[in-house]
Amino acid sequence: MLTMRNIKKIYRTDTIETHALADFSLHVDAGEFVSVMGPSGSGKTTFLNVAGLLDTFESGTYTLDGKDVSGLSDSEMSRIRNRAIGFIFQSFNLIPDLNVFDNVDVPLRYRGLSGSDRKQRIERSLDLVGLSSRVKHLPSQLSGGQQQRVAIARVLAGDPKLILADEPTGNLDSLMAREIMDLLDRINAEGTTIVMVTHSPECAVRSQRQIHVLDGRVVDVAMPHISLARTEASAGVASTLG
């Protein structure tokens, strides 16, 4: 599904050069649920931005669903983000002036779907997350967990192949966090690939594979379900794991 080889990402200012990703390599199979962990500044968010085509990279290759996505134009990347990728953010990132229905509708509008098609998708996804009775509510009228479920419904409505979640439970209490993780499990069980950045070990153990990132590189992979003989694993990771 997602293959990054030797990705390099550098942030430059007038005086400082920050190597956010240095020789970053990762492969995620279709249908996997992978968590990415690491200390602050390790490059997790940068990896997520590059993976989600929200940011570019200096060198390396990135193949998404079999297509090389380096060097694409802004409109091509936007199209892939809209159709193939879904984002779940720590602070939900719902648009405050739009009600639940309209928030879930946002990505569908950029896909050019008909009104009836959009309505059908929105109602189905809200039903999946258990918020059908809240369609007219504004985000300010919802709890944190409900807002995150709306964000997940927004992702589900687009039926993406890959979900990128940036600390989806970071702003939630443990009960709501569990609810969200249960939802992600169900989504993954239906075949959607999930890559989740998290600080929470409780959330990380829910994934099939845990990637540890440090100084812009993958330094450790806990792969209880994946064979180490996978050819896409980088030499550095293989040697780290012995």
């Binding site: 940011d55 936007s78 199209r79 809209n82 159709r83 953010f89 002036d97 946002v106 990505p107």
Partner: protein, 438 residues
């Protein structure tokens, strides 16, 4: 997508009504001022006979004093009218499809005592071709024919207002009107006719002048020894006494028009006029260098329209004022749009391209422009109404559909000027930086 962008724009504008009011108000002010002055210029400069004016040509000849030009400050100036004797010679040409001379005079009208008292009225003497040439519309009847022209028959065409006054608006064709010491039969009644400019006689000042209410066959001029109540000008005295001497003098007092529908006729007629002047030179007339003008109506309006230069200048200044109003909004819109960068970043993450985000914001600016345009247009209508009350012939001052379209166009341009930079700035923000910071 346009409907969606309009919906987003409405939500955004509703969010901060005070700011929205300021934005719309600034554009409304600019549109009001610019529309008012452009409309004034447009009313008096627009083609009065669209579709026909390119075929109507005014003739001017330089029969003036060999020692000085007609306008001492402009050596190339020509008298704006021609002499009676030149008119008679020009009328002999068969090149024009139609042709007419005309001038204004004044007669006393003696209505039925039951209707009213005698009064003086402006009369125009014309040939029958005048009416189809200038596309004059009739409510009842029509113009007299060429036979009535030649004789001349005691027939008249009256205007709508005179028909209302003398005959209570009824079909007065066949009825008679006493003017001075003769009685004339009405053959036609004009439909209401209020051009913005008296385009067939710009020597009267053009602007602020109404068409005459009664038209009489031109050939009554020598019969009745009619005096011109329009402009007349001469550079030397008459040879002899009396009206005949006046008619054969070098006094210019007639407007002359020829209808020339094709370029071939136009060239042939120009050659004819030049040949005529060369012939007249041989008998001692036209002692100034050969200079004739056969000028198409729209060009003549541009040359001779008495639109005050201040109106022309103000129309240009008013556009600049609109631009300044729009540019003043750039800062406001920049602040407004950049405050929405978090929302824009989310939309980008969800699949909106930079171009889509750009157009979304341009749509919002155009909505502001249009709203300002509507209010500005309403204010402009009010301003023009006020102006119409203080100028002569003021009821021609109003907005036509063309000006409404111009106003809408200007409001869209104003919205674009105000918003294009802020829209570009907000769509250029890197979404990745913003998403994490929320």
């Amino acid at each position: 997508m346009l409907t969606y962008n309009v919906k987003i724009a409405f939500n955004s504008l509703r969010r901060n009504p005070v700011l929205t009011g300021l934005l719309i108000g600034a554009i409304a002010l600019g549109i009001c001022v610019s529309t008012t002055f452009i409309a004034l210029r447009h009313i008096f400069e627009k083609d009065p006979l669209r579709g026909k004016s390119s075929q109507l040509f005014n003739v001017r000849l330089d029969n003036w004093d060999p020692q000085r030009a007609w306008n001492a400050e402009d050596p190339k100036s020509l008298p704006s009218q021609i002499t009676y004797r030149d008119m008679r010679e020009l009328m002999k040409s068969s090149i024009p499809t139609r042709q007419t001379a005309s001038f204004r005079t004044r007669f006393f009208i003696h209505p039925d005592p039951k209707v009213g008292r005698p009064y003086a009225e402006n009369i125009r003497l014309v040939f029958a071709d005048f009416f189809p040439m200038f596309d004059v519309k009739f409510q009842y009847g029509g113009p007299w024919d060429k036979a009535a022209d030649a004789k001349p028959e005691q027939v008249i065409v009256i205007g709508h207002d005179t028909n209302q006054k003398l005959f209570a608006g009824a079909n007065s064709v066949g009825r008679t009107v006493r003017m001075d010491d003769r009685t004339y039969k009405v053959v036609g009644v004009l439909a209401p006719w209020k051009p913005a400019l008296l385009y067939y006689d710009l020597t009267q000042g053009g602007i602020g002048q109404q068409p005459e209410q009664i038209f009489l066959p031109f050939n009554f001029t020598p019969v009745l020894e009619v005096q011109s109540f329009g402009n007349s000008d001469g550079w030397k005295g008459f040879d002899g006494d009396g009206y005949a001497a006046f008619l054969s003098s070098e006094t210019v007092w007639l407007q002359f028009w020829a209808e020339l529908p094709t370029p071939e006729k136009q060239q042939a007629y120009r050659d004819f006029v030049n040949d005529y002047v060369r012939d007249q030179k041989k008998i001692g007339r036209f002692q100034r260098p050969l200079h004739t003008e056969v000028t198409v109506l729209p060009e003549l309006i541009k040359q001779q329209s008495s639109l005050p230069p201040s109106i022309r200048s103000l129309s240009i200044v008013s556009i600049l004022f609109l631009v300044v109003c729009s540019l003043n909004l750039v800062g406001l819109l920049l602040g407004k749009f950049l405050a929405r960068v978090p929302e824009v970043s989310v939309r980008r993450a969800l699949g909106a391209s930079r171009l889509q985000v750009f157009w979304q914001h341009v749509v919002e600016c155009e909505l502001v422009g249009l709203a300002g345009g509507v209010i500005g247009l309403a204010l402009s209508i009010g301003m023009l109404k006020m102006i119409s009350k203080v100028v002569p012939n003021g009821d021609v001052i109003r907005l036509d559909l063309e000006m409404v379209a111009v106003s809408v166009f200007l409001s869209l341009i104003a919205g674009l000027i105000a918003g294009i930079y802020p829209a570009w700035r907000v769509c250029s923000v890197a979404p990745a930086m913003q998403l994490k910071l929320q």
